[in-house]
Amino acid sequence: MLDRLNEDFRFFQQSLALRAQRQEVLSSNIANADTPNYKARDFDFRTAMQNAMDAGMRLPDTQLTLTSARHIPAKAASPGPPELLYRLPYQPSLDGNTVDMDVERVQFADNTLHYQSTMQVLSGRIRTMMAAIQE
């Protein structure tokens, strides 16, 4: 039963984790808005979420034991954190910095809103489950 609950919340948990990570990347961009040669980073949330959800369908991290030299090593490993990409500069500045404050601020606000809405939905979900348990 608890396993089902966990499975039910996993999507939101994953989404929140990725949103928090994106928030961090964006805050790093804003912090380094004046650092020469800093390149703005970001990742595609949709792809990262897709990867994370696909990972849930796969085997947990396992590795085959090798008892003979002729065994073929095989393992199932979950993909690491989402790959950070570089933002394409719209108006590159002379010092090699590609942070566009407007873009970053908009993305930051957008990400904040998404984080909050995910949390709202998760809260509602938890409340529904609570109601079901207590009835």
């Binding site: 601020r105 984080y115 609570m130």
Partner: protein, 139 residues
Amino acid sequence: MSLLSIFSIAGSALSAQSQRMNVAASNMANADSVVGPDGQPYRARQVVFQVDPAGGQAAGQEIGGVRVAGVIQDSSPLKRVYDPKHPMADAEGYVNMPNVDPVAETVNMIAASRSYQANVEVLNTAKSLMQKTLTIGQS
């Protein structure tokens, strides 16, 4: 790596930007200081920012705050002002004045304060997100 590290990232930017503002203020204040502690005219100083990635991150994927790598002296030539009655005037009657550009310093100051504000905003957002996260599933 979580919302908590946003505090250190934005916090590092706050201190770096305030140091930049300090340097700009020092430059402005000393725009007319003909003699510094070393007997030479004051030279404008500039901060150099550098990314300060937190440890334990994959290569090429580092994100992090910012730190002041150093404060460098502006090597541009000093302003020479003709004032034979000045006690520091040389044989030709010229006085070496600091190479501070007040306009550039003002711009620097405004840019620093805007960046500071942006990071305060980031900090506040992260704080409210964390507070909301703490009350998840309640009421």
